[in-house]
């Protein structure tokens, strides 16, 4: 049953989500909360907003979760076709440009997602980028983030991040940033998942968080 509210809530706050990506020394990390909710009702607590595109390329899609799901499937399709035709992996920088183009194609009827891209290129250099829902990209050296707890995450990340973090330190920094931030947001939280991408492997950890 769809509840009708008398005041308009932004569509990007209909489901609630928070995602953050950070760069370290020869590694990147991307993390999201795992709540799936509709307005004030929580439906599931195992819905990660971070999707794996290829071995060392992840994309986080906070916002309207139906678009997050659908848009991730479109992206996987495009990357798979590129791999078949070119017989090589799509680099994160090229992927980021592709995401921006796909979003701008829907300029006057956008996908309600604010993508974050994190990966290592073929020389194992860290790459992160973020963009708004119509594809305006930002290439950052430190961190990118989006979601309903964005201001809270900004405060945490600006204070905790420093350059050249090792994979273990990066994991701690990104986890603390995300958890403390979404604990101050009513519609994000209910668990978290963190992926740390290094040249050798990808380590995925689920965090123990407050379940409210």
């Amino acid at each position: 049953k769809i509840q009708i509210f008398c005041h308009q809530m932004s569509i990007l706050q209909h489901n609630g989500s928070s995602v953050i990506a950070m760069a370290g020394k020869n590694c990147v990390a991307i993390a999201s909360d795992t709540r799936f909710g509709i307005d004030a009702q929580t439906i599931a607590f195992d819905f990660s907003k971070v999707w794996q595109i290829s071995d060392k390329l992840f994309v986080g899609l906070p916002g309207l979760l139906t678009d997050s799901q659908t848009f991730s499937e479109k992206l996987k399709f495009r990357v798979n076709m590129y791999r078949l035709r070119e017989e090589r992996e799509m680099s994160p920088r090229v992927f980021s440009n592709m995401v921006a183009s796909l979003l701008y194609e829907k300029r006057f009827g956008p996908y309600f997602v604010e993508p974050l891209i994190a990966g290592l290129d073929d020389k194992n250099e860290p790459f992160i980028s973020g963009m708004d829902l119509i594809g305006a990209p930002v290439l950052a050296k430190d961190f990118v983030l989006a979601g309903t707890a964005d201001e809270a995450m900004f405060g945490m990340a600006e204070s905790l991040w420093r350059p050249d973090l090792s994979p273990e330190d990066l994991f701690e920094v990104i986890s603390q940033t995300l958890m403390s931030a979404f604990d101050r947001d009513a519609i994000s939280g209910w668990g978290a998942v963190v992926h740390v991408i290094t040249p050798d492997q990808v380590i995925t950890r689920t965090l123990k968080t407050r379940q409210d």
């Binding site: 809270a152 900004f154 405060g155 945490m156 600006e158 905790l160 603390q176 403390s180 604990d183 101050r184």
Partner: protein, 238 residues
């Protein structure tokens, strides 16, 4: 005109556009002049700090406007929100401090002051002061105290508080660093004055990076049983 009905509809003039829907032009008595305030209570001290930027929309009114008001030698109030209401509120409270001192022959305690501020705010429940207050000081037992308020006087004694445009940026960091939330096996210990002042400087610097309304300078008041000392700290001017 009746003659028009003999013309095919394509030759009929377009129906007159309906009268324009009523537009509501309204003037708001309130405006947000931005800024961030923060207060942290220690074991026997409190630190209250606020940035000094006054904004209006995307412009800056001034880079040097204090949001702090020393009410007694044991309590300092920091107020963000609308500067006009902040100035009036501070003046009103200072007048009431003088009256209290003359009637009771002693300074108001921090807890009494906290209650009085709440009452003053609620008095204007139906045309509120657009102010977001944090009160910091030492109580009559010598322990540090911080009180946080909403615009109409709902208040609570808390170990730390932030308010203003940088509130959402600062509170999670204070949860993490003071209350050690989400950190397994970390004990909540008493912080020293130097640790708290460093934390205040770090948090306000971070807020200044990402909040456009926070910047320029920070006034820091350190309240102990011995008295109140002030520090000024620079932030980015952008």
């Amino acid at each position: 005109m009746e003659a028009l009905q003999f013309f095919p509809s394509s030759f009929q003039p377009a129906r007159q556009a309906p009268l324009e829907t009523p537009k509501q032009y309204s003037w708001s008595p309130y405006e947000n002049n931005g800024g961030t305030t923060i207060a942290i209570a220690g074991k026997d001290f409190a630190v209250v700090a606020a940035d000094t930027r006054l904004s209006y929309g995307y412009s800056i009114h001034t880079r040097n406007a204090s949001k702090l008001c020393q009410l007694t030698n044991k309590a300092v109030l920091a107020t963000s929100g609308m500067q006009a209401d902040q100035a009036t509120l501070h003046k009103t409270l200072q007048m009431r401090m003088i009256t209290y001192k003359q009637t009771h022959r002693k300074e108001m305690s921090a807890t009494a002051l906290a209650q009085m501020l709440a009452n003053t705010l609620y008095y204007k429940r139906f045309f509120p002061y657009y102010t977001f207050n944090v009160l910091g000081g030492v109580d009559s037992e010598g322990k540090g105290c911080v009180f946080s308020y909403d615009a109409v006087g709902s208040y609570e004694r808390t170990p730390y508080s932030a308010s203003g445009t940088g509130q959402t940026l600062l509170m999670p960091l204070l949860d993490n660093q003071i209350a050690k939330k989400n950190q397994e096996g970390k004990e909540v210990t008493d912080l020293t004055v130097e640790e708290v002042v460093r934390l205040v400087k770090d948090t306000l610097t971070s807020a200044g990076e990402r909040d456009i309304y926070t910047g320029d300078f920070v006034d820091i008041a350190i309240i102990t049983n011995e008295g109140i000392t002030y520090e000024k700290f620079e932030l980015k001017l952008d």
